[in-house]
């Protein structure tokens, strides 16, 4: 009796399994053209990406786009969870410095052959750099935009104090000029802090590496040696310790807006902060409050040459994408979509495509941000394109936060360098990046 029941149960389960496999196969066949797109962004970006997905669906009947909008702050955690749960989407947006880690981990596939050739040819050099994996030199991601950091000031204030306003990368302030300007501004009426380094973005944010690493590089060092891929001897070397000590000194002098003061000190009433070390996006905020008084200057030359950051959120195709050709088609459609471009143009998107740059008056010759665009072409240095980057950036963030808070620069940078090297060692050098020891 029980054996018969058992057989019946097994047969039923078998039939149910067969049915579910058949239904599943049918469904997967019917939904083959469904693209899952994971992204983050400001509210206006969410709107324009939602709109472009609708236009793509209308232009490609049968293909559906499922948008997975994930808040910016928890985006990388969401990617990690998606990988662990085996639910990586077809297309994913990623922060450029994390590209090497994702490619090394096997999440992504090259997109050069999936995209329209004209689009690839249209990319600026810094855009190509942010989307290229250094080992195989293949393009794994693309974006309409790139980014940079510039120095903002009040034209009126600087002229009144007779502080020279640099107009090109070549005549950027030197280290001495920069510090002299901070000193002069610190005594100017109404100025509470001469410089806003946007510490209010937080102590554990990519901003710290993105915006401060160029100071180290300009002073002749780096967070890691980009040939040997060792941090010890570089990040804790004399040049970096001097750079960090100098930055700590700015804080000790009371020249830097503290983290607790918020993000608005440059344009708040009375302008308590005289200069702002801000991303290209900050121009729109400052301009909205200060109008044409805002002047955009290149980052100073702390050593022999100036250095600026680049890299932003770019689009890639997962290795597990169900239909890579459709994914490439969607990206090509989106990045060439006129309404998509117009929306980014309206929000001062930093050009990553030559055609987009030509259509962006803000960045064109004599545009308010022209010097920032010039800077990206001449002095941009990408963050280290290494799979250990998540560890590198976290170690650097912790070190700089502690240094700003008064800790010993040498000790903090040594600790960070060791942490980075330990991670690389733990992963056998992230071959083929380094030689395993």
């Amino acid at each position: 009796m029980s054996a018969t029941l058992g057989n019946r149960l097994l047969k039923s389960l078998g039939a149910a399994s067969a049915l579910s496999i058949a239904v599943g196969a049918g469904l997967s066949g019917a939904q083959a053209a469904e693209l899952k797109v994971m992204f983050q962004g400001d509210p206006y970006e969410i709107t324009i990406i939602t709109d472009v997905a609708k236009r793509f669906e209308a232009a490609n009947p049968g293909t559906t786009v499922q948008l997975i909008n994930t808040p910016h702050d928890a985006y990388n955690e969401k990617i990690g969870a998606a990988v662990s749960a085996g639910s990586l989407p077809d297309i994913l947006q990623l922060d450029a410095p994390f590209l090497a880690n994702y490619v090394w981990s096997g999440f992504l596939q090259p997109v050069g052959n999936l995209l329209d050739k004209a689009l690839v040819d249209d990319m600026t050099a810094s855009n190509v750099a942010q989307g290229t994996y250094p080992i195989d030199k293949a393009l794994y991601a693309i974006g309409l935009t790139d980014s940079t950091v510039a120095l903002y000031g009040s034209r009126k204030q600087l002229e009144e104090l007779k502080i020279r306003i640099p107009t090109s990368v070549e005549d950027a302030w030197t280290r001495d000029e920069f510090e002299a300007a901070l000193k002069t501004l610190s005594t100017a009426p109404g100025v509470k802090w001469p410089l806003d380094l946007f510490r209010s973005y937080g102590s554990k944010t990519e901003w710290i590496t993105y915006a401060y690493e160029p100071i180290l590089v300009s002073m002749g060092c780096d967070v890691i040696d980009r040939t040997s891929w060792k941090a010890t001897g570089t990040l804790d070397g004399k040049a970096c310790v001097d750079a960090a000590t100098e930055m700590q000194n700015w804080v000790k002098q009371g020249w830097v807006v503290p983290q607790s003061a918020g993000q608005n000190q440059f344009y708040a009433e009375g302008r308590p902060a005289a200069l702002a070390w801000g991303g290209h996006w900050f121009y729109a905020e400052a301009n909205a409050k200060m109008g044409d008084d805002v002047v955009v200057m290149p980052l100073p030359k702390f050593g022999e040459k100036g250095v600026s950051p680049n890299g932003t959120w770019i689009w890639s195709v997962a290795k597990t994408a169900s239909d890579p050709a459709a994914a490439g088609k969607f990206l090509s459609f989106m990045l060439q979509d006129p309404a998509y471009r117009d929306a980014y143009k309206a929000h001062a998107g930093f050009p990553g495509l030559k055609s987009f740059a030509a259509a962006s008056p803000l960045y064109a010759d004599k545009g308010a941000m022209a010097v920032a665009f010039e800077q990206a072409g001449k002095t941009a240095v990408a963050r280290p394109p290494h799979p250990a980057y998540p560890t590198i950036t976290l170690a650097f963030q912790n070190a700089m936060t502690n240094i700003f808070d008064g800790a010993d620069p040498q000790a903090e940078l040594s600790k960070a360098a060791k942490k980075i090297d330990d991670d690389i060692l733990d992963n056998d050098g992230y071959q083929p990046f380094g030689k395993a020891e």
């Binding site: 899952k36 983050q40 962004g41 400001d42 509210p43 970006e45 969410i46 709107t47 990406i49 939602t50 709109d51 499922q66 948008l67 997975i68 909008n69 994930t70 808040p71 910016h72 702050d73 928890a74 955690e77 969401k78 969870a81 662990s84 749960a85 085996g86 639910s87 003061a261 918020g262 993000q263 608005n264 344009y267 708040a268 009433e269 991303g279 996006w281 905020e285 909205a288 409050k289 959120w313 929000h347």
Partner: protein, 297 residues
Amino acid sequence: MSTVVSASTPSPVAKVSAKPDIGAIVKFVAVLIIALVVISPLFLLFVASLKPDRFQILADMGSFRAFWVSEPSLQNFTDIATFSGALPFGRYLVNSLIILFCTVLGGVFLNSMAAFVLAWGRLPGRAVVLTALIGLYIVPQESIVLPLLSLVNKVGLGDSFAAQILPWMASPLYIFLIYQFFIQVPRDIYDAATVDGASPFRIYWSVFLPLSLPVLATVAILLGIETWNQYLWPLMVTQTDYARPISVGIASFFGHDSVYWNSAMAASVMMMVPVLIFYLAFQKWFVSSFISSAVKG
């Protein structure tokens, strides 16, 4: 009658000694100041939600202008209170309410049933189960999120309401809280119901549940607040707007370029109001339950 009259009539002694009580005034002022300090962030949130210009909100921070709005506007609310579009906050709010309602209702039922079995059921190794249950309380949610996500995806519950409701209904803390209440009920009540022929479920449903309304209200409130404020799990499990709660939706205003304080403030007010109503509705039960559990009878 006479007792009532004497209680409500001030005594002559009280009239004679009715001088300004400096101590009471100082206490009152101190409490008032503390209350103002505590309330000020909420007040600031509300005021900021009425300022449409996000740059102005930022510019006002750091001065008393942060607590003042010269031209109040509901534009932030009307901008975000949509049920469709890129950020449908109306939908997020409704989603949160659905998740809250189902989790609290199911949670109160499940936890109280488990507590009843532990307190009064014939359960072999009850002490071990109870100890293990309390031990579970120390496991942080973050440590089980990834395996749980994998499980949820495997059973096809990804991006659903069920995925946000089912895993969090049962909780060791609430089972233990209700268990503590149940074991204090006199044995005679349980025995009398048994003699009357009531089944264990009937005893639980008709006798123990009505007796335990204060503790159930406490569980409802604590579970409700916990559910309402959930962020990590809904963030991981939701993919689309279909079941996304408002807590995850609000994070969209903290972009990589800038923070949209005006929208975030309005959304925060929208998120705060239902939980405030929920708390006020259950406040009496909440306080009385804590008093009764704190005072040993």
